[in-house]
Subunit: 190 residues, 2 copies
């Protein structure tokens, strides 16, 4: 476990009283380089990642291009939830946008952790209900906003993130070409 | 509690040993008529619903039309997760597609239930990680399939659901006009 994860658990489940020595054996931590692939489409998805520092992103390949659908900054969890739950070949890939330090759980460690320390399920349930809410809300913002308005909304909501994302990844997330994004950014700055 | 909910909990958390008398006071059950509005956009979202029978759907209004983004059949939970978590005005509305029987928890009952019986958080966490995975995967299917292919995929994946959904709601969910849906259905049948 890392100080970042300890802090995050304490924030979401105030007063949680599980000795860190009891939790520590479930978690592992490693560093990954910018551009490293943590999960490939079609591979077994057996891990769930917590970002201590850096940023991961979730994407799929379509017509030779990587299409980004989610970024996970510091204190966010990420996996291919569709297949982490079902133990099927991954439908998404995960890569590091920056040099990152991640703490992770294997599927078996995750299942054992939740059953042995169900208060940790209170923690994960909070994370997942919020993430689910955000994914549903993104469908509404995508359905009701022009790409230009969505760019502005995303920039205003995540100002720290927007400065860190390379243009091709941000353009893919917004659903426009890199050239169109650069025009939008120039327009917004002027 | 209802037999349907008891059964669903036992399926997702096998061996869970919480006396039903301890859980029952948290839950309430009521019947709602087809077309009834359980939540309006902008209203406080204070309840989470389990469908014992019937079907609920999640939607928003855009340019005078209801845009459907999710259906909840028997044994599914539904709320406006974006605001149920944050206690802000709802960004979605919820209505009954059919006469339905629902079991529900208030936000305060839900929070109390999870802290007093954290094994129930194991149950809800499973539901929410799967629902989140499905919402992310829908972004991929929407991004990679024609509306026609998405209709076929959805029909094949949820054959029982597709027969129950009125054409205007299904057309909205797929992102086409009701007329285009009817043409598609005729083409598929021929």
């Amino acid at each position: 476990m890392t100080p970042q994860l300890r802090q995050h658990i304490a924030t979401l489940v105030p007063g949680i009283a599980i000795a860190e020595e009891a939790l520590a054996p479930f978690f592992q931590t490693r560093s990954v380089k910018k551009g490293a692939l943590l999960l490939s489409e079609g591979a077994p998805c057996n891990e769930i990642y917590f970002v201590n520092s850096g940023c991961l992103y979730l994407f799929y390949e379509h017509e030779g291009q990587g299409e980004v659908i989610h970024f996970a900054l510091e204190h966010w969890w990420l996996t291919d939830y569709k297949t982490f739950a079902d133990n099927k070949p991954a439908v998404f890939a995960i890569a590091a946008m920056e040099d990152s330090e991640i703490t992770y759980l294997s599927r078996s460690a995750y299942d054992a952790l939740l059953l042995q320390f169900p208060l940790m399920a209170v923690y994960f349930n909070k994370i997942h209900e919020r993430a689910y809410g955000a994914a549903l809300f993104k469908q509404k913002t995508f359905g009701t906003m022009t790409r230009e308005d969505f760019y502005r909304y995303f920039s205003n909501t995540y100002p720290h993130l927007i400065r860190r994302i390379p243009a091709p990844l941000l353009a893919s997330y917004i659903g426009i070409s890199t050239e169109a994004l650069k025009e939008l950014q120039a327009k917004t700055l002027s």
